[in-house]
Amino acid sequence: MAKITFITSNNKTIETEATSGSVMEVAVKNKVKGIDGDCGGVCSCATCHVHVKEEFWNAVGEPSELEADMLEFDDNVSEYSRLACQLKVDEVPDGLILKVAK
C-alpha cells in the first residue's frame, strides 16, 4: 500500500492510496485534474505529466530514454518531470508527493 498525494495546478491536494497499477491510473481513478491518461499508459500522449517533489526524486529516479524524449517537448517541463504512467505504484516511495504539470 502506497500513499500518493497529488497537488493540482489550482493547488488542490488529493490524497490517494493504492496497491497496484501505475500512478497515472491512480490519478485518473481519483479524478485528479490535469491528468488525463489518454493513451492508457503506453507513453504516447504525455497527458499525465507530473513534477516529483524534490525530496522524492532520488527514490523515484530518472525517466527512461523514451520517456525523457516525450517530456522534452512538453510544456512546463522541469528537472523533476516524469510521466505518471511510467511510475509503478509498488515501486514508488510511500508518501510520494507529485505536482500536476497541467
Partner: protein, 386 residues
C-alpha cells in the same frame, strides 16, 4: 505478404536523408520522416504554423482551392488556439462517459451482427462507413437517423474516383453544415451545433463561420481516418486469427493492442505546416512561407524508437507513437476513435470466431517518391460466428 500488411515506404529516406519531398499541386512539401524530428517540428508552432493567411494550405493534399472556411481549432495558432481548444475539449471527451459507450456498443453490435448474418460483405462501404457515420451521430449528439444521409455520400467527401480533391463534393458537405447551423439557430437543442453557437471562445461569442469551421473539421478529420482504422483492424484480425484469440484470452492487453494498431496503421499519413522563417529540418533548408509535413506514418516506424517497427506487437508497453499527432494540435477526436476501437475489438472477440479476406483492392496514396498503402478501396470479408 499478408493482405493486411502495411509496409513502410519511408525507411530508406528516413535513414538516409531524414526527409522526403513531394510536389503537391505545385506547392512543394518537405516531408519530415524521423520520430524525433517530427515531434520537434510539431512542438515548434512558432516556426511551423498552422494558421496563416491561406486557409487549407497545411492539409496535404492542400485544400486551398476547395475551401475558404478555417478549420477550428486546427488551423489556428496559440494563443488563440487555446481558447477554442478549451471550448471543444470537454465535448470531445464525452466518449469517456458510460452512456456514450453503451450507445456506441449498440452501434458496433449492429454492424457486427449484420456482417455475421450476411456471412460476407464489403467492409469499407458496408461496415466501416456505416460504423463511422452512426458513431458520428453520438459525437455530435444528434439523432441516429441522420447517419443515413452521410452513408449515402459514400466514403469520400472531398474525393471522387478520378481526383483526390473534388470541390463539388466538398460543397455538398459545406452546404449541409450551413443548413444544419441555420436549423440549430432556429431551434436550439443539445447538439454540437447549438452548444457551439451558444458558446464563447477567447472572450467572443462564436460566429456562424467559426462553428462551421469546427464542424468541417469534425466531419473531415474523423472520416477516412476512422474508416481506415476500422477496415485495417478487420483485415488484420482476419489475417491473424491467433491475435483475435489472444485478445479473447487476455482482455487486459486491450489498451496496448489498440495503441499498437494505431501506431501500425497510422490512419493519417502526414499533416503539414507553413514555415514562418527561413529554417531547416535535418540540415535541409526550409524557406520562409514554404511547407513541411510531419509524416506520422514514417515516425511510427522509426527503428530508433520502436523495436521490430514493422511488426504488430499487441502488448507493446512503451509505445510513444504519434498516430494521433503530437503537441498543440494532437487529435481532438482521439478519445472517440479510441472508444470505437475498444468497443469494436471487444465485440469482435465476443462474437466473431474468425474472418477471411475473400478479395480486396488496396488504397495506395501517391506521395511522389513514396507510395503508401493506407488501407483498402474495398475488401470483401467472410465473417464466421464464434
Amino acid at each position: 505478404m499478408k493482405k493486411s500488411t502495411l509496409s513502410d515506404p519511408f525507411k530508406e529516406a528516413r535513414e538516409g536523408k531524414g526527409i522526403g519531398e513531394m510536389n503537391d499541386q505545385d506547392d512543394p512539401v518537405k516531408m519530415v520522416l524521423g520520430h524525433k524530428d517530427v515531434r520537434k517540428c510539431a512542438h515548434n508552432w512558432k516556426t511551423f504554423q498552422s494558421g496563416g493567411e491561406e486557409i487549407g494550405r497545411i492539409v496535404v493534399p492542400s485544400e486551398v482551392h476547395i475551401r475558404d472556411v478555417r478549420q477550428i481549432p486546427f488551423e489556428v495558432d496559440p494563443p488563440e488556439h487555446k481558447g477554442y481548444r478549451a471550448l471543444v475539449e470537454p465535448w470531445f471527451k464525452r466518449p469517456l462517459e458510460e452512456e456514450y459507450q453503451s450507445k456506441l456498443t449498440d452501434i458496433v453490435n449492429g454492424v457486427v451482427e449484420e456482417a455475421l448474418t450476411k456471412g460476407s460483405l464489403e467492409v469499407v462501404e458496408e461496415f466501416s462507413l456505416k460504423l463511422q457515420s452512426r458513431a458520428l451521430t453520438l459525437l455530435l449528439n444528434i439523432p441516429y437517423e441522420e447517419s443515413e444521409l452521410w452513408i449515402s455520400w459514400g466514403t469520400h467527401v472531398f474525393r471522387s474516383e478520378d481526383t483526390a480533391l473534388d470541390g463539388d463534393k466538398a460543397n455538398i458537405l459545406y452546404d449541409y453544415i450551413d443548413a444544419q447551423i441555420d436549423k440549430a439557430i432556429a431551434n436550439p437543442g443539445e447538439d454540437l451545433y447549438s452548444v457551439l453557437l451558444a458558446s464563447e471562445a477567447n472572450g467572443k461569442k462564436m460566429t456562424k463561420e467559426e462553428v462551421k469551421g469546427v464542424l468541417i473539421l469534425t466531419f473531415a478529420g474523423g472520416r477516412d481516418t476512422v474508416i481506415n482504422a476500422v477496415t485495417n483492424s478487420i483485415a488484420y484480425f482476419a489475417d491473424h486469427p491467433q491475435s483475435l484469440q489472444r485478445l479473447r484470452d487476455e482482455p487486459e492487453i486491450m489498451n496496448t493492442a489498440i495503441e499498437e494498431l494505431i501506431r501500425y496503421f497510422s490512419p493519417l499519413t502526414q499533416m503539414g505546416r507553413v514555415a514562418t522563417e527561413d529554417t531547416q529540418v535535418c540540415e535541409h533548408a526550409v524557406k520562409a512561407q514554404s511547407r513541411i509535413s510531419m509524416c506520422w506514418a514514417s515516425a511510427n516506424r522509426d527503428e530508433r524508437v520502436f523495436e521490430k517497427p514493422d511488426e504488430v506487437v499487441l502488448d507493446r508497453k512503451v509505445n510513444p507513437h504519434v498516430g494521433f499527432g503530437f503537441g498543440t494540435h494532437n487529435c481532438l477526436g482521439a478519445t472517440h476513435a479510441r472508444q470505437i476501437m475498444k468497443i469494436l475489438l471487444t465485440t469482435l472477440t465476443e462474437k466473431v470466431g474468425s474472418m477471411e479476406i475473400l478479395d480486396c483492392k488496396e488504397n495506395i496514396e501517391d506521395l511522389d517518391e513514396f507510395k503508401r498503402k493506407v488501407g483498402f478501396d474495398n475488401i470483401q470479408v467472410k465473417f464466421n460466428r464464434l
